[in-house]
Amino acid sequence: MNTKELLKGNTEMIILASLADGPKHGYLITQWIRTQSEDSFAFSPGMLYPLLHKLEHENLISASWITSEEGRDKKVYQLTKSGGNAYHAYKKDWTLFAKKIQHLIS
């Protein structure tokens, strides 16, 4: 399966999905995507961070710096209200799209 082609156009939805269950920092987002997709999708950090900054600029996610238990400062992202709405809209469109494709190929 050519996963790279399938990923195109859906990268922002995947990032929003990763934050749907709570705030995460960049490294945790890459790990979440890898484990949830069972290693089918892998976001390189080089691809992820420009996207995170873009989504932050578009006010779909917000960022804050927290101090972890180990005493390190970490930048953590979370969905904004608009981001949550955008994610639900994406999910709805994708579910409908997948249903139509399934209908075509079956």
Partner: protein, 230 residues
């Protein structure tokens, strides 16, 4: 940390944003390196692997610049080195015109020699700035461009110092070149041969200095790349 260094070189954002971006990416690199160390890798290899896994620093910086862009496209592509290269080119053009003018002006030939000899000495001193070894072709080109820039800047500075004491050169460096274009135009048809000969002599002198500096720095090529011995 070459990755972070390369990233900083290519970022075109405000210093505060640059600091935050670098801190965030540094945090990611540390997390990944820590995970790799838990898998048994040593700290140096873990860090190297996490940097490689991150991607190409220049491409990432470009993508981040696009996201954070506040400057017009042209200004975002300009770099301090472009300004320095322009200054160096100006210094070089000044030197040609000043030498031509000094040579053809009665009673000024000693100044011509006085200016040229220290230039060659300065070129060799500037060659000491090449400290790298095992360079790729593009790194070698960049190293010699840097040498040329330093040489030209020293050259322009040196002429500037002379300008304080020699009114003729001072006249040229402070705009005499443009004011004397009629002089050049009047002399060119009859003295073109002499002027061209002088141009060739000066160019040969500079090329000789460059080749001598290359020999002095002793470049050799092996399978690892270009090796420069100082």
């Amino acid at each position: 940390m070459p990755f972070i260094k390369n990233l900083r070189k290519s970022l075109r954002v405000s210093p505060e944003k640059e600091q935050k971006i670098v801190a965030e990416i540094e945090q990611h690199l540390e997390e990944e390196a820590h995970t790799l160390q838990l898998q048994g890798k040593n700290s140096v290899l873990a860090r190297q692997e996490s940097e490689q896994d991150f991607g190409n620093a220049q491409e990432i910086a470009q993508a981040l610049n696009e996201t954070h862009q506040q400057l017009p496209q042209l200004l975002r592509t300009l770099h301090l080195r472009h300004a320095i290269l322009l200054i160096a080119l100006y210094g070089f053009i000044c030197s040609y015109t000043s030498l031509t003018y000094a040579f053809f002006t009665p009673g000024s030939s000693p100044a011509w020699f006085i200016v040229t000899i220290p230039q060659i000495a300065l070129f060799f001193i500037s060659a000491k700035m090449l400290h790298a070894q095992k360079l790729s072709r593009s790194e070698l080109r960049k190293a010699y461009t840097k040498l040329f820039v330093h040489f030209s800047l020293f050259h322009a500075l040196f002429l500037g110092v002379i300008a304080l004491f020699d009114n003729k050169i001072k006249d040229i460096l402070t705009g005499g070149i443009m004011l004397r274009y009629e002089w050049y135009l009047a002399r060119m048809p009859s003295d073109f041969g002499d002027a061209f000969a002088l141009f060739l002599i000066t160019t040969t002198l500079y090329l000789f200095a460059l080749l001598a500096a290359i020999g002095y720095t002793s470049i050799s090529k092996n399978q690892d790349g270009f090796l420069i011995r100082m």
